[in-house]
Structure formats: structure tokens, C-alpha cells
């Protein structure tokens, strides 16, 4: 494998609060290679957004403690000065957020947003930057880009606004794009458009993408590799096809079984995960964090299990005997016909 573009090592993010330390990210390590699309999937509070925000130095909270390393092209983002980081952000690493309206300033036009971004990183005239903005808007599929460049955010629909944000993110041709729930606020038919767009832009520009989402379907459509997070840790990580067809961690099983089948079959009840996600403020963390909700819990779930590579490239952090997993998965994912 070639040199990774982003190499995150043992990243830990915690917040000091009045009620104690809240651990949002609890020692995750992963790499993103050039041209890779990595899906980071998990529920609210799993640490998926915080992990990427902390890597980019976007957490503006004096009570936040970030430990570990995040090597981008060999340089540690976590020890960079603000000026160095500013040169990387926007130019080499760009981010797309969930809500395109809050990512845009309502009093400026789409063209201003994009040319501002270009001019922050490159020495070009306003005119040239605006011309680039038109090209970019055209590339992300906004009709009449030459006119629309003068439109304000509120004049665009949600999907079109997200396209403007994508155009902004791509304006400096970043080698890494971090997309945090880019389609969650959009309707399904518009979501399909934006995902197609991201895919085609990815193959055209060759950027790597880290896609943060709660939607297993979106992840499986977009990513080469999938990482499933729970309680700030990686529950499972591996190539997409492996994780989707041969999930190994009981949390991944539950997550998949919680989604109503999309193949046309109907079940009476879903094999839902009982209980609620673990609170990141819980001080007792030396155990499998999913064990409280896991039907296969036993004494071996304590202390905290290691991430093990059972199949080449496919990691999981469960202590269940590997040989039994297929059978246990069948039990866990079979929809329940009647209430227990």
C-alpha cells in the first residue's frame, strides 16, 4: 500500500465538564490512502464527527483535550500552529457539513463564497476567482452557473445549496474531503443526486473522502472502507464488502438489523438493539462499551477488548469466538416475529 494521506494514531478527545470528563473519542487509529473513500458510521454521540473536527483543529473549546497523532502527508495536524493549519484547511483538506444553510453566509452570493475561498489560498484576481467559481458551479451541476453565481444562499433549494458548498470545498482541489452527513438534511431523490455527484467528482479529481454518516445504506453506496464507531471507539473496520456482507461485531449486526429491509421483504418486528447508546460521560470505560446492550454479553467483555484482525484488513473488537460468529449473527439478525 502506498503512503497514507491521513494517518490517525490513537486519537483521544475528551472534554472537561462540571460533571466530570466526557470521553468523545477513545483511542481510534485509522489511515486514509490517496483516492480512498472511507465511511465513518455510527449513531449520535459515537464520536464520528468529533474525531474529524478535532483532526482539523475545528473544536474551539478550551476544555477539550486532544491526544494522539493525525499525520497528514507526514505532518502532524495536531501540533501545527494556527497559521500552518489554516494553510492546510480549505486548500488541502476541505470539509462539507450537514446543513448547507449554516455553512453559507446569507448576505453574500454563491460566487463570493467560492472566490473568497480561492483568494484565501491563491494569489488570483477577483475576476479570475469568480470565473473559477462559475466553472465549479457548473461542475457540481448547477444549471445556468454564470447567472447563479450571483444568487444568494436563500435563492437556492437545499440540494442546490449543498452543491454550492461542495463547489466551495473543491475550489482549491483538496486531496482530502471530509463530508459530515452531507445528505442527511436532503430528500432521498436529492440525496441520490448529491451522492452521484460526490462519486463522479471523486473519480474526476481523485480526492480521498472521509464520509461521516449514520446511514449504513449511504456508506455502503459510497465507501471503499467502512469504520463502525460506538462510544468513541471502533467497533469494526474493514473493506466495504467485507463489513456489509460479513459483519463481525454484534453492534454492526444490531445496526443492520434495525434498518427495515429494503429488498421488499416484510418482517413483523425488527431485531432492534435494546437500551440506549452509552453516555460518553460514563467513567467506567474498561470494558466493551456495547456490552450493556449486547445479548451475547459475558465476563470476557471486561477489560476493554482489543481490535483484532480476524480476516486480513477486517478488524473488530469483540471477544466472541471467531468460529461462532456466523451462527451468532444469524441469531442476532433474525427478525423477531412476536414480542418477547
Amino acid at each position: 500500500m502506498s503512503e497514507p494521506l491521513l494517518d490517525v494514531r490513537d486519537l483521544r478527545v475528551s472534554f472537561r465538564t462540571r460533571t466530570g470528563v466526557v470521553t468523545a473519542v477513545d483511542g481510534i487509529s485509522f489511515t486514509v490512502g490517496p483516492g480512498d473513500v472511507v465511511g465513518l458510521v455510527g449513531e449520535s454521540g459515537s464520536g464520528k464527527s468529533v474525531s474529524m473536527l478535532s483532526v482539523l483543529g475545528l473544536i474551539d473549546n478550551p476544555n477539550c483535550v486532544i491526544e494522539g497523532q493525525a499525520l497528514f502527508k507526514g505532518r502532524d495536524l495536531l501540533t501545527m500552529s494556527d497559521d500552518e493549519l489554516r494553510a492546510v484547511r480549505g486548500q488541502e483538506i476541505a470539509m462539507i457539513f450537514q446543513d448547507p444553510m449554516t455553512a453559507l453566509t446569507p448576505v453574500y452570493t454563491a460566487g463570493w463564497h467560492i472566490s473568497e475561498q480561492i483568494r484565501a489560498h491563491e494569489k488570483v484576481s477577483k475576476k479570475a476567482a469568480l470565473a473559477r467559481a462559475v466553472q465549479l458551479l457548473d461542475a457540481v451541476g448547477i444549471p445556468n452557473a454564470a447567472d447563479r453565481v450571483n444568487s444568494y444562499p436563500h435563492e437556492f433549494s437545499g440540494g442546490m445549496r449543498q452543491r454550492v458548498v461542495i463547489a466551495m470545498a473543491l475550489s482549491c482541489n483538496p486531496s482530502l474531503l471530509i463530508a459530515d452527513e452531507p445528505t442527511t438534511a436532503l430528500d432521498v431523490t436529492i440525496q441520490a443526486q448529491i451522492l452521484e455527484l460526490l462519486k463522479s467528482l471523486q473519480s474526476e479529481f481523485g480526492s480521498s473522502i472521509v464520509l461521516i454518516t449514520h446511514d449504513m445504506g449511504v456508506v455502503s453506496q459510497m465507501s471503499d472502507r467502512v469504520m463502525v464507531m460506538y462510544g468513541g471507539r471502533l467497533a469494526e473496520a474493514g473493506p466495504r464488502r467485507e463489513v456489509m456482507r460479513n459483519p463481525l461485531h454484534p453492534y454492526t449486526w444490531g445496526l443492520m438489523a434495525s434498518i427495515p429491509p429494503t429488498d421488499g421483504t416484510r418482517v413483523a418486528r425488527l431485531a432492534a438493539i435494546p437500551g440506549a447508546p452509552i453516555s460518553p460521560g460514563d467513567p467506567d470505560r474498561d470494558h466493551c462499551l456495547f456490552s450493556a446492550r449486547c445479548r451475547f454479553v459475558s465476563d470476557t467483555c471486561r477489560p476493554q477488548p482489543e481490535l483484532v484482525e480476524h480476516i486480513p484488513g477486517h478488524f473488530d473488537s469483540c471477544v466472541l469466538p471467531f468460529a461462532d460468529r456466523v451462527e451468532l449473527r444469524r441469531q442476532a439478525m433474525t427478525p423477531l416475529e412476536v414480542a418477547p
Binding site: E43, I190, A192, L255, S258, R266
Partner: protein, 327 residues
């Protein structure tokens, strides 16, 4: 427009030609947002009717018209043989014992200063449905039914998680023992694992209490899971109605087909799905396209679709589709 042909027996709710127009002021003067435009539907006792569509299709407005949280501009809603559209507010109060609503945002729909038990008791006190002791007992029973142990009774909404708040909202809706529940996006604000729990709870409650549901959501996979019949809405109109399995596995309206193909599936390779990516955005309900409202985005559109508006027709397989060229 043809009336849907249905067996009149066992109908709990029937809506005829519901329209809801909102007047607005724009730079072009006064205009009408045609949020719901001539929707007729019927719900049989004990079934779940799913209403699905994208934002702005009028599904929530329709849901609110069905319980008269909004007064429809025209049309009538007949609940259990009574036309509720002509009733006064006072009469509605009693009638609403028969139908209740669950909302999308369980936090906004709960009083932050009222404890869980009081929240569930309130509708019963309002309607004087028993002595205080009976009401308290029933409220505790309902809290248990939606999965809370008694220690939760004295908690305030902010002490509950999103899924728990939604369950509290469900308990409150059930307090007056309604026959019909209208659920407007009840699970879309929840995490998937919690969403599955609430969907299971709704299924259990339906079975145990003989409930009838109108389930409004944008997620077709969820609607397919919970509903017996599905109505697909586009720009204020129903474009396809049929059994859940039929609509999902063999859609006959091009919009339904596109909506289904847009669902991101977990194992796309295994399902061998052909993706139809719709071009363009949803047109504005202020200025609807002439002819079929879907024609600007439709892959199959022909000349007639741009001039003549198709009406909901009953096809030979029992499906109702508003399309000149059903699939």
C-alpha cells in the same frame, strides 16, 4: 376525479377531495400555496396507511387536515361515520377522543415543565375520563406499556433521551384510548437503533390495542415496513395507492419507482438495483407544472403529460395510479 372504489364496511376514516391552500404574499402579489390538492383516501379499521413523499409534498399538511389541526380549504373528512370538517371546536374536543396525533419532534410537543406522569394524565383529566386515582393508574399502566419503569414517572422531558421522549408522546396519545393514531414522522429524528425500537413498539401497541394508524414519513423503507397500504404523495396529490408490498416491489407510478430506487441499500451489488436518479428539484407548490405535476422530472413523460393532468385511476390489480402511462 374518480372516487376510489372501496368496500364501505370497516372504514374508519374517509377523506374526500381534501384541499388545503395557504394564501401568501409574494413580489408577484397574492398567491396560493397548494399544499394539498384534492386528496381522497380511506383507512380501514385496524390497518396502517402509510403516507410517503418528499419535503413539501403536503403529507404533513394532509395529516393535520385529517385531525383538523388545520381546517381544509375544501373537502370532507369522515371519521367513524361523522363528518368532522363541519364540527365546531367544542364538538371536536369530544370527537378527538377517537383520534390522536404523534409528532416528529417529541421535545417540542412535550411541556418541559410537566413530569412524565402528568403529561400522560393531562388528556384524561381534560376529558374527565375517570376519578383521579383511575387516571393515575391508567397513566402508570401506559408508561409501562411504552417501556418505562415506574421510576421514570416523575421525570421531566429534558431528562429523557429522544427515543424516550417519543415513547412518552405515544403514551400521551394513547391516554384517551383513541381508535386512530396519526403519526407524523414519528421516528425520523431518532437514531437507527432507537428508530427500530419505536417501530417495534408501534407494532406491538397496534396489535394489543386494536389501533388504526396513519403513518406519515419520508422514508419509504420505514413506511413499507410498518404500513399495510401506502399512499405516495407528490406536490399535494396522491400519485399512487396500493398494498405496501405491491407499491414497494412493483411500483406503477414513475415517481414511486424513482423514490424506491433512490433508497440507499446496504448491499447494492446483491440486490442488483437499477438506479434512477431524478433530475431537478421538486417544483414549487405555488406554481405547479401544467399537466402531470411530475412531468418535468419524469423519464417517461410524453406530450400529453405536459398538457393533461392524470387523475387517480383504479387499475386492474387494485392499484390506484395517477399516470397516463402506468408502469
Amino acid at each position: 376525479m374518480s372516487e376510489p372504489v372501496v368496500d364501505e364496511g370497516g372504514l374508519l376514516l374517509k377523506a374526500r377531495q381534501i384541499a388545503k391552500h395557504f394564501p401568501i404574499r409574494t413580489s408577484q402579489g397574492k398567491q396560493l400555496v397548494q399544499a394539498v390538492d384534492g386528496v381522497s383516501l380511506s383507512v380501514r379499521a385496524g390497518e396502517t396507511l402509510g403516507l410517503v413523499g418528499e419535503s413539501g409534498c403536503g403529507k404533513s399538511t394532509l395529516g393535520r387536515c385529517l385531525v383538523r389541526l388545520l381546517d381544509p380549504t375544501s373537502g370532507e373528512v369522515i371519521f367513524d361515520g361523522v363528518d368532522i370538517t363541519t364540527k365546531s371546536r367544542r364538538e371536536l374536543r369530544t370527537l378527538r377522543l377517537g383520534f390522536q396525533m404523534i409528532f416528529q419532534d417529541p421535545y417540542a410537543s412535550l411541556n418541559p415543565r410537566r413530569r412524565a406522569l402528568a403529561t400522560v394524565e393531562e388528556p384524561m383529566l381534560t376529558h374527565s375520563l375517570g376519578t383521579n386515582a383511575e387516571i393515575r393508574a391508567r397513566a402508570l399502566m401506559l408508561l409501562e406499556q411504552v417501556g418505562f419503569d415506574p421510576s421514570y414517572a416523575d421525570r421531566y422531558p429534558h431528562e429523557f433521551s429522544g427515543g424516550q421522549r417519543q415513547r412518552l408522546g405515544i403514551a400521551r396519545a394513547l391516554a384517551v384510548a383513541p381508535k386512530l393514531l396519526i403519526a407524523d414522522e414519528p421516528v425520523s429524528a431518532l437514531d437507527v437503533s432507537i428508530q427500530a425500537q419505536v417501530l417495534n413498539l408501534l407494532s406491538d401497541l397496534q396489535r394489543d390495542n386494536d389501533l388504526t394508524y396513519v403513518f406519515i414519513a419520508h422514508d419509504l423503507a420505514v413506511v413499507h415496513h410498518i404500513a399495510d397500504r401506502i399512499g405516495v404523495m407528490y406536490l399535494g396529490e396522491l400519485v399512487e395507492v396500493g398494498s405496501s408490498t405491491d407499491v414497494y416491489t412493483a411500483p406503477r407510478h414513475p415517481y414511486t419507482e424513482a423514490l424506491i430506487s433512490a433508497i440507499p441499500v446496504i448491499d447494492a451489488e446483491a440486490e442488483m438495483r437499477e438506479r434512477i436518479v431524478l433530475t431537478g428539484d421538486l417544483p414549487s407548490p405555488i406554481d405547479k407544472p401544467a399537466g402531470c405535476a411530475f412531468n418535468p422530472r419524469c423519464h417517461y413523460a410524453q406530450d400529453i403529460c405536459r398538457t393533461d393532468k392524470p387523475t387517480l385511476q383504479l387499475l386492474d390489480d387494485g392499484r390506484e395510479v395517477a399516470c397516463h402511462f402506468p408502469l
